[in-house]
């Protein structure tokens, strides 16, 4: 039983981590909460459904197009909405409100275009999973866990070694100094949206195959991803990943002992504990407010 709960927690944690890592990357660079990241995930999932199930395109072509769409969608949101607000010296609170507006707008658009009924992407035949150390895991779930780990490793090396990754860290650390040395902060913001949203596209593909599509899926995933990011340390990508797995394990082990209706309560109790006793999160750095 412990093994099965561990596997369940690992799968949930991997999904939350895919959501939280893209969101955290955007926050890390742009310094505001992009709640519409959930809309990117939801919309990309529905685009995959449209391309594969409705138009009948090849599955892998549909996946690539869905991820490209996600990246472009995030880029567009930045250019059309956030960049204009930044030009008008809008505060981060205004940007947060704008992101909520975008999330609601796009989820309503999904409802209008695709309807409220649940959709499935029938690429993988449903069958009993494989037994592994007394637990059952499906091939797709193995793919989710492995893909998420590969992505996180790639993201880590990207931020450490790649020119754009270093530039992102520079802008995140001090935007003005970065500008002085010739790094265009607006260009870096665009890149962070492109990369963060592409990760959201990957999350969308995997979640759509694992959990089916619902218009409000973006909001539900964002709540968990955001919670995980806070627990791990807001703006800290490795922290967000760690926080996601902690959340996944806590929820699954927690509702083994508690009534299942307490699942969300477990997530928010952990969040409150961290906010009260370690507001900077697991890997975040405490800043003096002097």
């Amino acid at each position: 039983m412990f093994n099965q709960l561990f596997i369940n927690g690992l799968i949930a944690g991997a999904i939350y981590a895919l959501v939280a890592s893209g969101f955290s990357l955007i926050f890390f660079t742009c310094k505001f909460i992009h709640f519409a990241h959930g809309a990117t995930i939801a919309f990309s999932g529905y685009i995959l459904y449209f391309l594969f199930s409705s138009l009948g395109l090849n599955f892998w072509v549909s996946v690539i197009l869905a991820i490209v769409f996600a990246a472009f969608f995030g880029f567009l949101m930045n250019i059309v909405v956030y960049k204009r607000l930044r030009k008008r010296k809008a505060s981060n609170v205004i940007l947060l409100i704008a992101s909520f507006g975008l999330l609601i707008l796009f989820e309503s658009l999904i409802l209008l275009l695709f309807g409220a009924d649940v959709k499935t992407i029938g690429y993988i035949k449903i069958a009993k999973g494989v037994e592994f150390l007394g637990a059952i895991i499906t091939p797709l779930q193995i793919v989710i866990v492995i893909t998420s780990f590969i992505l996180f490793v790639l993201l880590f090396f990207f931020m450490k070694k790649a020119k754009i990754g270093k530039a992102m860290r520079a802008v995140a650390d001090n935007k003005d100094v970065a500008e002085v040395v010739g790094i265009s902060s607006e260009r870096i913001y665009s890149w962070s949206f492109i990369i963060g949203s592409a990760i959201a596209g990957v999350a969308a593909v995997l979640v759509s195959l694992e959990q089916n599509l619902e218009p409000m899926m973006g909001t539900h995933l964002m709540i968990k991803g955001f919670t995980a990011a806070i627990i791990g340390g807001i703006g800290n990508v490795p922290g967000a990943i760690l926080g996601s797995f902690l959340l996944g394990f806590a929820e699954n082990f927690g509702i083994w002992f508690l009534p299942s209706g307490y699942k969300d309560a477990i997530a928010f109790v952990i969040l409150f504990i961290f906010l009260l006793f370690r507001a900077q999160g697991i890997l975040g750095i405490k800043r003096d407010n002097k």
Binding site: V118, I126, G129, N212, E214, W256, D264
Partner: protein, 349 residues
């Protein structure tokens, strides 16, 4: 605004007025006014739109003055919508959608003494909440009892129930618990959950002979997917709402072998009329919504007391079968049969 813009704006306004004069046909004053609260947006909008289509089909010749308020799948908005229909639109009769929104509005209905027909209320005993409340959807007691009888006939000893948390699902489970006298385990989840593995794991440990999915219908595809993946080997029964074309399509093969209690199928004439109008198979609930409008059309414009009396004497052969109400407003005379799903089709067992 410059002169050209003003001229264009003026022309558009004049065109709209002319179009209204030519094409608008006001509804005669002697037409009965019907107010309906439906989820046309939000989480339940799929079934809301099915019910709405059933109503519109029945009212193609505008024999009733139908006013629809969207309460956005949020029960807390239902009383506001009902208030508006009663006090602003001055409707003669109300149509409500589900048990939750009906119960949320029941005090307003009682105070206004307005006859009300619930299209999709399944909760046991709901019509006893008010003398003004009727329902065209039969009590869930019928469908749940049929599943309990099935489990008993198979000499099953252990039943597990996976329930989502809401008024309707609680009502289903209450009936099941009252009628089942052997081992039972109940696992709960919220309607927003996407991961039911922990609950299913507990069910797997319990090793039941039969699993009753008293769940929100939109969650059937994901629940059944996770159930099959965990290799849980038991017979499975569901609510009648699984038999919706969209749900069956989303479920795919994981729906096979599910035992479904089903009321009498809609009449062939209704099915073809619906398909001709909307180019799709009618979803669950379209037939009863259609019948609700037809019953009201038959009653016609009357005082609220007369409408109430006429409703109690209803004897109508509709798209969903014969409709009669007992003294509490509950629909009687609807048969339940058990079916099994095979390749998205229902086979009677």
């Amino acid at each position: 605004m410059n002169k050209t813009t003003k001229i264009i704006g003026g022309i558009i306004v004049i065109m709209i007025i002319v179009a209204l004069i030519i094409f608008y046909e006001p509804i005669p004053k002697e037409t009965i006014k019907v107010g309906a609260i439906i989820s046309l947006s939000g989480r339940d909008s799929y079934f809301g739109s099915v019910i709405h289509k059933g109503m519109l089909l029945a009212n193609k010749n505008r024999s009733v003055d139908l006013i629809v308020e969207d309460f956005g799948s949020e029960t807390k908005n239902a009383p506001t919508a009902v208030n508006k229909l009663i006090n602003v639109d001055k409707v003669d009769i109300l149509l409500t959608e589900w048990s939750e929104d009906t119960l949320a509005s029941i005090e307003i209905i009682k105070n206004a003494k307005i006859p009300t027909i619930c299209v999709g209320c399944g909760s046991v005993g709901i019509t006893k909440e008010s003398e003004y409340l009727f329902r065209v959807w039969p009590s869930d007691e019928l469908e749940v009892s049929s599943l309990v009888e099935y489990a008993k006939s198979k000499n099953f000893d252990k039943v597990a129930v996976l329930q989502t948390i809401s008024v309707w699902e609680e009502s289903l489970v209450d009936v099941f618990k009252k009628k089942w006298d052997k081992d039972i385990m109940i696992q709960k989840a919220t309607r927003e959950d996407s991961d039911f593995r922990t609950q299913l794991l507990r069910i797997k440990e319990f090793n039941p002979d039969f699993i009753y999915l008293a769940s929100y219908e939109q969650k059937y595809p994901i629940i059944l997917k996770q159930l099959r993946e965990l290799g849980i080997d038991a017979e499975i029964g569901s609510t009648t709402w699984i038999n919706d074309p969209a749900i069956l399509e989303a479920c795919g093969d994981s729906c096979n072998e599910i035992i479904v209690p089903k009321y009498s199928l809609p009449t062939k004439s209704f099915m073809s009329e619906y398909k001709e109008e909307y180019n799709e198979e009618p979803g669950v609930g379209a037939d009863v919504a259609y019948d609700a409008i037809k019953i009201i059309e038959k009653i016609g414009k009357k005082s609220k007391d007369e409408i109430l009396k006429k409703l109690l004497k209803t004897n109508y052969e509709g798209a969903s079968g014969e409709i009669q109400f007992d003294e509490t407003g509950d629909r009687i005379k609807r048969e339940v049969k058990l079916y099994q799903i095979k390749d998205k089709a229902l086979i009677e067992i």
